[in-house]
């Protein structure tokens, strides 16, 4: 099936009544959760997963994708209005968006953000549509060693690109992998670390980890910040209208950063947050008047907004075509696929074209919906920011508990949710990044399987990973991605010592 035919299939899914409805639900829920400061896309996706039980996979996944890019779209609103980014991907949005809002141009800032997001998202879907099938057809020949190396590279990339200490990020990744070894080993039937507890035989469901490490831990942070301001009723948004000059000014950054964001989204480990920062710095470097950045520059707002949305669709490339998530958020997306019995990967495009193309086609539609939602309706949607924090906290706790209970009907899992919530909170306090943990947890089982398959093929010799060029080069990239930041840090430390 060629891309055009595929896309037609996709639009049949996306433009059916069911498809339109679930895209709309997805983007609205995503926007609303994304707007809440402190609640990120991972929590948004994890909270929505129980709703999809028993649904048809195609509309369910179309909805989940909508939740994801909707959350990135919606995160900008609280960045601009409250200077409290809804998600980490919109931190850079606040740099110029909040100053604009303070100058009484909140409406204009929201409009710029919405249009930039729309263009970034749409450009990126076109690129996704072109790249994902190509990558799928290449990846179909990948054997277990290549898959193992790819996943290994994904983990090292996310560790070295995480904020803060690389060592801590690697510890988080190893810990996530360790948690997945708990339970009955699927290949030999050995009980590992279960201590004879029946509840642990199947291991931990990923939803317990996702909701605990993210939603519950984020709730703890919300509790600490519960007295922060929420939107006051008298805050005026101002006009949403943009002048021709405004549009002209944003056209440059938007067209450049849509591509930059997409590329960074495709690469493992990066994603919306890093893309938005890189795009911001990129535009500031090449700007004629960089001193305007940080004081309400249109360019400084348009750049991260187009980039983070482009990165979001870009992140679907490895997820859909390789079946390997490159970030914490896409790891949870993969979980959503697996819950519905869909295995993304090179076979998805041929085996389940309605899902593969349905998701891609629905993104065109979703971006249009988001533009409509975020332009005329934004003053009403923003009202959700005035929801009292204590109430929000209680409700998010409830959503998490219901979500976990509805997967297993087992109270033991609820206690485990508390345990992982406490772990997630501790990780946040002591600056251990959580995305490597969840990515390793999701990839861990697949990695172990790929590793053992490779070793079975090679009769127990590790040389299988270095004998063929593809696994070898991937492992080398992984090694470099760990060593380069370590070397840079070591050098800057040495320089610092010398200066003292």
């Amino acid at each position: 099936m060629d891309a055009f035919q595929g896309l037609l299939t996709g639009f049949q899914v996306a433009l059916s009544l069911e498809g339109i409805m679930f895209v709309l639900i997805g983007v609205i829920v995503g926007t609303l959760i994304g707007m809440m400061p402190g609640l990120g896309p991972i929590s948004a996706i994890a909270i929505m997963i129980p709703i999809t039980y028993g649904m048809d996979p195609a509309p369910a996944l179309v909805m989940m994708a909508g939740v994801y890019y909707g959350a990135v779209f919606g995160g900008s609103t609280s960045s601009i209005l409250l200077n409290a980014p809804g998600i980490s991907g919109t931190v850079a949005t606040a740099f110029d968006g909040y100053p604009m809002a303070q100058q009484g141009k909140a409406g204009k800032a929201l409009a710029i953000a919405a249009i930039s997001s729309f263009i970034g998202g749409t450009v990126s879907v076109v690129l996704l549509m072109l790249l994902a099938p190509a990558l799928s057809s290449v990846a179909i020949s990948f054997g277990p060693p290549a898959y193992f190396a790819l996943m290994f590279m994904g983990l090292t990339a996310i560790s070295s690109l995480s904020e803060g200490s690389t060592i801590k990020a690697m510890i988080a990744a190893v810990a996530g992998f360790m948690v997945v070894t708990i339970g009955i080993d699927p290949q030999t039937g050995t009980q590992r670390f279960t201590f004879g507890n029946v509840n642990l035989f199947d291991g931990f469901d990923f939803l317990i980890i996702a909701l605990g490490l993210f939603a519950v831990a984020e709730v703890c942070m919300l509790i600490l910040n519960r007295k922060n301001r929420s939107l006051s009723d008298d805050q005026k948004l101002g006009s949403l209208k943009l002048s021709k000059a405004d549009l002209k000014e944003m056209s440059g950054p938007v067209s450049r950063q849509s591509f930059v964001g997409f590329l960074l989204g495709v690469l493992p480990g990066a994603g919306a947050t890093i893309a938005s920062f890189i795009s911001y710095i990129f535009e500031k470097r090449i700007a004629k008047n960089p001193e305007e950045f940080g004081k309400g520059s249109i360019k400084g707002l348009a750049a991260p907004e187009s980039s983070n949305n482009a990165a979001t669709s870009g992140a679907f490339v490895p997820l859909l075509s390789l079946g390997i998530p490159g970030s914490g958020t896409t790891a949870v997306m993969l979980g959503a696929f697996l819950v519905l019995g869909v295995q993304p990967g090179p076979l998805l495009m041929t085996d389940r074209p309605e899902i593969f193309w349905g998701i891609i086609a629905s993104m065109y539609l979703g971006n249009v919906f988001l533009l409509i939602l975020n332009l005329p309706l934004i003053p009403y949607l923003a009202k959700i920011l005035s929801i009292p924090r204590p109430l929000l906290i209680s409700l998010v706790i409830m959503f998490s508990l219901i979500g976990v209970y509805s997967i297993s009907f087992n109270v033991f899992d609820l206690y485990m949710l508390l345990v992982f919530g406490a772990l997630g909170f501790a990780m946040r306090i002591f600056s251990f990044p959580a995305p490597p943990f969840i990515l390793a947890f999701i990839l861990g089982g697949m990695m172990e399987q790929a590793f053992r398959q490779s070793m079975t093929i090679s009769n127990g010799s590790l040389s299988i990973f270095v004998d063929t060029p593809l696994p070898l080069s991937l492992l080398l990239v992984a090694l470099i991605s760990l060593l380069v930041p370590a070397f840079l840090k070591w050098r800057s430390n040495r320089l610092a010592y010398k200066q003292r």
Binding site: I171, R192, F193, R226, I429
Partner: protein, 152 residues
Amino acid sequence: MLASINRKLGLLIFIVAAVYLYLSFQLPNYEYAPIDADVIPKGLGILLLVLSVFLFFSRVVETDAEKAKRNIPKKELGVIAAVFAMIFVYILLFEAIGFIITTALFIFFCSWFLGYRAWKTNILVSLLFPIVMYAIFVFALGIVLPRGILPF
């Protein structure tokens, strides 16, 4: 010697890694599996052990932002502990008393405890949320939540 926070964390993680590694050496072996169930856990245990040593000896100085994040007033930690205790009690009673009643009580008291004083809205939300969720899950999604002592 344990002056910096990285040293304390490093030591803690070292202990966790050592326990994990000890347990992975207890895993049974089968002769004919080329890669047995204990290989990956042993590898992970050793990796974590090494990383914890790195963390222990790392000279990276904590940034002010990281320090501020760690510096939480005791009272606030108490608030979080209290919320966790409430969740614990909720889980304890959830199946016996039923979803609607426990959830309503939890939302009301948790919101109240965290400083929400508009009690009329609070009661309204506490009642509507569990009823709507119950209806969605049980009747629309077919996911059964504990009925408890209520008749429906």
